[in-house]
Subunit: 320 residues, 2 copies
């Protein structure tokens, strides 16, 4: 007979497209998953979660352990934070409330330094990790998620009670195993900051230009001017990473550019945020990388121009 | 008794806001002015030209010497070209047709190098000059023009039969006198290329951003991010001018930025072109300055990013 292995209890903080997708996959794999929601609490409580996936088919979770407040959640061993970085100030109390002692908090977010602000307000006993999601997924309605492609979550240790080396490695691998069990690719990363810079090579051009030019990837990859602009922005991210001590793999930007040209048409998350009147994730994707590179003596002028233009758009829209 | 002084005959090539305004002012000052029109020929023939000016009041020219073809125009001593730079390929035959021997052709256009392409196809006997219009004016309907503020036309000699020095100076001063007679400020400039760079300090940020951010000067000057972007773009124009051998006056960009903040709300010409589905003047205002600066070893990365974004917008719109 098989041993009884206690699976860790998982909490999802922010059940949007990212939190909803991974939470549903983990629940279907047999984990005990608890979902914190805000505006969609009653819809998900009543109707469950649904993922319409071009990879896995139509998936649903009928009976969702949904909560409108973290006060009602049981203590979780792993907390997956799928909230937008623009809401990070608000999630710390929920994380602290829902965390078991020595829980692992995994930030499934884009951008640079998203763990730093949170770390300052978390108890020292909690492990903080960053996860980079390579996935094309977006919310289509309350509790309804469309999954177009990919799905990998690469994980790195940020800070917490684990000493350097082996202990950290064990925790990261425990996180990767969590996803593997649910059929999701996951790789342990030894340098989270470097991995975040690497992901910015894609996010900086495509997220911002999708809003600025109101265009998805196919038109952006079809026009000679947007192609040159994308390449110019990518080159600046590579320079910024280099200045911050992270030499990215030779030809990485060129490869990513080429792959995007062959992807099915895709609207980046910032375009969805824009269309659905959510604040744009400008701090994590633009302001922090600009500040980090500048502090290291590297200006990124095209990225700076793009950032200012997006900040104007974001502010105008919310003022109007 | 006063001497009879033969006033020069003036032809207006392209009777939009600029051509219509200056042509009307010259006609009201007693010059014999002939207007070449395309789509608005019949409206202007029947109803005349009207300028609604916040400086001069309501002005009209009831009986307009209007032409649908340059073939029908009498030979003119001065030709004022008010057509958009995007139509410069088409205006050369009209200019040649309407020009008296040794006529002076004055390009009332923004941007860099707008005279160069035309020079190549003009007879050597024609004088070619550039005029920079410091004016807030736009077309509101067929033959109808709104004039918000300013009006000066600064003139420089580009090329032609006049030898260096005194002869050129005389011709430029003859042009300035033409405008003075009509109550319009006009200064002779000794270096047209330098003056065009100087004007780009305004046109590069405000024209492009008015389209990219869909905003007039007041909102652009009210937001901290657009302010920083405008100043960054201005600084690059000053660097580009410097690289091309034109040191602009100390503090010029700062002064222009400040003045714009105190101006009444204004939509630059490129925004009008955008709204009215005309091609954008990207070649003269962006591509040529970028190429000239790059050839002189100066990259202007924020301007390059802005240019690529605008070119994408211009092409998408015309394709759609």
């Amino acid at each position: 007979m098989s041993e009884i292995i206690k699976k860790p209890r998982v909490g999802i903080i922010g059940t949007g497209a990212i939190g909803g997708f991974y939470g549903l996959m983990l629940a279907r794999a047999g984990y005990d998953v608890h979902f914190l929601l805000r505006s969609e609490f009653s819809a998900v409580s009543q109707n469950g979660l649904r993922v319409d996936s071009q990879v896995h088919g139509a998936l649903s979770l009928e009976s969702v352990q949904a909560y409108a407040s973290a006060d009602d959640m049981p203590a979780c061993d792993w907390l997956l934070v799928g909230a937008k970085t623009t809401g990070n100030n608000g999630v710390a109390p929920a994380i602290i409330q829902a965390a078991a002692p020595n829980a692992k908090v995994l930030m499934l977010q884009n951008g640079l330094g998203v763990e730093d602000d949170l770390r300052a307000v978390l108890p020292d006993s909690l492990h903080l990790l960053g996860g980079l999601c390579f996935i094309c997924v977006h919310r289509t309605g309350p509790g309804q998620i469309a999954h177009q492609a990919f799905g990998a979550v690469n994980i790195g240790y940020h800070s917490g009670p684990a000493a350097e080396g082996a202990t950290r490695q064990n925790i990261v691998e425990e996180g990767a195993a969590l996803f593997h069990t649910a059929g999701i690719e996951s790789v342990a990363m030894d340098n989270l900051d470097r991995a975040r810079w690497q992901k910015l090579v894609w996010n900086v051009p495509y997220n911002g230009l999708s809003v600025l030019l109101n265009a998805s990837t196919t038109p952006l990859m079809a026009d000679p001017d947007s192609r040159e602009l994308i390449q110019g922005l990518m080159a600046e991210v590579v320079q910024g990473a280099e200045a911050c001590g992270h030499t990215l793999p030779e030809g990485y930007a060129e490869q990513l550019f080429k792959v995007t040209g062959h992807m099915p048409d895709y609207r980046p998350s910032m375009h969805h945020d824009f269309v659905e009147h959510r604040p744009l994730e400008l701090e994590a994707i633009y302001a922090k990388p600009l500040a980090a590179a500048l502090a290291a003596g590297c200006d990124m002028p095209k990225i700076r121009a793009l950032y200012h233009a997006l900040a104007f758009i974001d502010r105008s829209r919310r003022g109007g």
